[in-house]
């Protein structure tokens, strides 16, 4: 039973990590141009970073 006390926080921590990653993708504007990003990733000479947010 004691293992629950370890596993439960661990899995919630992993979930929270995912949630933070989602917030980060949103803040850094990664949903602004899905079509363009899909093309940009194919070429080295294109700037593949999302634009800076105002």
């Amino acid at each position: 039973m004691n293992i629950v006390l370890f596993l439960a926080p661990a899995s919630i921590g992993l979930g929270a990590l995912g949630l933070l990653a989602f917030f980060w993708t949103m803040r850094s504007g990664q949903y602004e141009d899905p079509k363009g990003d899909a093309e940009r990733i194919l070429y080295d000479h294109l700037d593949e970073k999302p634009p800076v947010q105002d």
Partner: protein, 723 residues
Amino acid sequence: MSASLTLERDLEAFVRRDEAGRGRLELLVTGARCAACIRKIEAAVAGLPGVASARLNLTTGKLAVELAGNEAHPERVVEIVEGLGYRACLFDPAEAVSAIDREGRELAVALGVAGFGAGNVMMFTVPAWAGLFGQELTPATLTLMYWMAAIVATPCALFAGRPFFRSAWASLKRGKANMDVPISIGVILTLVVSFSETMLRGQHAYFDAAVTLLFLLLIGRYLDHRLRANARSAARDLLALQTPIAMRLSGEAEQGVPVAEIVVGDRLVVAPGDRVPVDGLVEAGHSEIDNALITGETALAPVTVGARLHAGALNLSGRLVMTATARSEGSTLAAIARLMEAGAQTRSAYVRLADKAAALYVPVVHTVAAATFVGGWALGLGPREALLRAAAVLIVTCPCALGLAAPAVQIAASSRLFRKGVLVKSGAALERLAKVDHVIFDKTGVLTEGRPRLVDAPDHLLTLAAPLARASRHPLAKALAAQAGAGPVAAEAIETAGQGVEGLIDGRRARLGRAAFVGIKDGDVRETELWFGFENDVKIRFVFEDRPRTDAAEAITRLRHMGLSVEVLSGDLAGPVRDISQAVGVDHWRAGLTPFDKAAIVDGLKAHGRKVLMVGDGLNDAAALAKAHASMAPGAAVDAAQNAADLVVTGEDLGAVAEAIDTARSARRRALENFGFSALYNFVAMPAAMAGLVNPFIAALAMSGSSIVVLLNAARPRLWRGR
């Protein structure tokens, strides 16, 4: 400013500058599709002197350009992009100020938190459900599971529920109860009851329900928001393309100013191909004016010094200098704008399906939940069990399915229409469109192509005049040249604004232009025409007309088959209106109407209980568009018409009208199916909850199940295919 620069349009008004002098410029680029396009455009623009960086957003088609100093000319940026073969338009900074979508971001964050909560709380509630079915779970373990569920669910629910709590509070302060009131009460009561049950070591706690419920509701909210935000920004893009910048003369220099800043007495330059910015009088120059968007009249009006110009008219051939006699708000437009406002007010009185459903739902659910608590207590259940059952009623009846019913369908319908080139401005617009039973078309630019085409001229005459036509910038000459195809261009061609073009063809002097210019006393002013002749020779007449769109007749037949009556209302003369109406197969037409007549006719039909769809593109249609039950405008329409319309058709097809009505009707049918299903579900779930037959497992199953059924029904592809 040098002499050559004064001829260029001053486009500095498009640049937004910060204190450091860095500028930002936005262009709408059409035609870019792939990585190669991105590379070409970005590299070319970034390579211009004075440009710090350029970035193309392929999804929205917007090119953001950062300027380092005053060196870069906006006109050069447009030129270089157009030189690469794309269409580029500068954006009006006032329109382009893209308000960061705060509401959308807040909903997305809330949705993420609710999703996290709903997923992770399952870790503890699934074992608890197993315990409910007599599996090996001691009461102590059950309580432990509930406590852990509480730790995850409570903060998530309180955070994700903020949009609902806020809206419910605002609604209560106004003394009303919207759908968010039972949602908020339901969530808070569920949390409170679950805490007390856990502390009292009860069997049932609903922590998972509280957060799952918010997750499902937020999906509906987010879809609805996206629908509105997308349509709003797309509509704003269209408007920003028709930028209201006028060229003001100060001394000898031309300066670009926003139309709103023009004052009476300003001297303005209207170049050929530009629209007249405000009402005014011609001070210098001759030209021809196309009033089609204002009066619907297709014949071109010659203007010269002293002539009156109306805002919105198109200057065709010569450069005009005019004196403003009205400000932008005081122009002919003002009266039309007032009518439009009145129309928009009556339209906002329309009650959406979802709001009608909510009006029924809210009191019923409140009453039943309260009755369960009071009745249960009175019948000897004890306050704890009675409260638990009341909470169960609120949970199972929570309007997840109801909240998803309309937005899910409407987003499916509008994205389908978007792919067909129709832009839907709101979900309410789709609902209104579904109820339409009478369609009114404007003639010019809607039933017709809105530009002149040469009427059957023999080929040898065409070949004769073509060299001169190729040398001219006049739209009629251009139409003639287009018909003739490629070929030689006349030598020594000189264009006289508002008159015509003169030049040498095979060494012979010839003229192409207005009747008087070619040497004919007077032409038939009723028709759009061009004359051509060699010096001292027979003169030839070319007649132009605005042709109906190729699919107009077919589109109107289709509307008839759908049970709609069709009518044509036009400001043009009776002759052309009759011809076009007959050509496309419409028996009812009226000609020579003012904008006010059109609006009055729509009002009259409304008074007889008809639901009118108005399709129009001009200023003369704007009031009627705003007053009609539903309205559509082509993408080439003036901004006032696009503002007033519910739907904007970006393609050339008139068939989109029938397509849109078809889609709106099946969307309405499907939304009603969804409401029916939600009602049925509540009808079954409510008594079960009152009788105490619902446990947390059943509540979770019922709640998600009903939402999924509604979503699947909206996404069901078969019906969307239409015919």
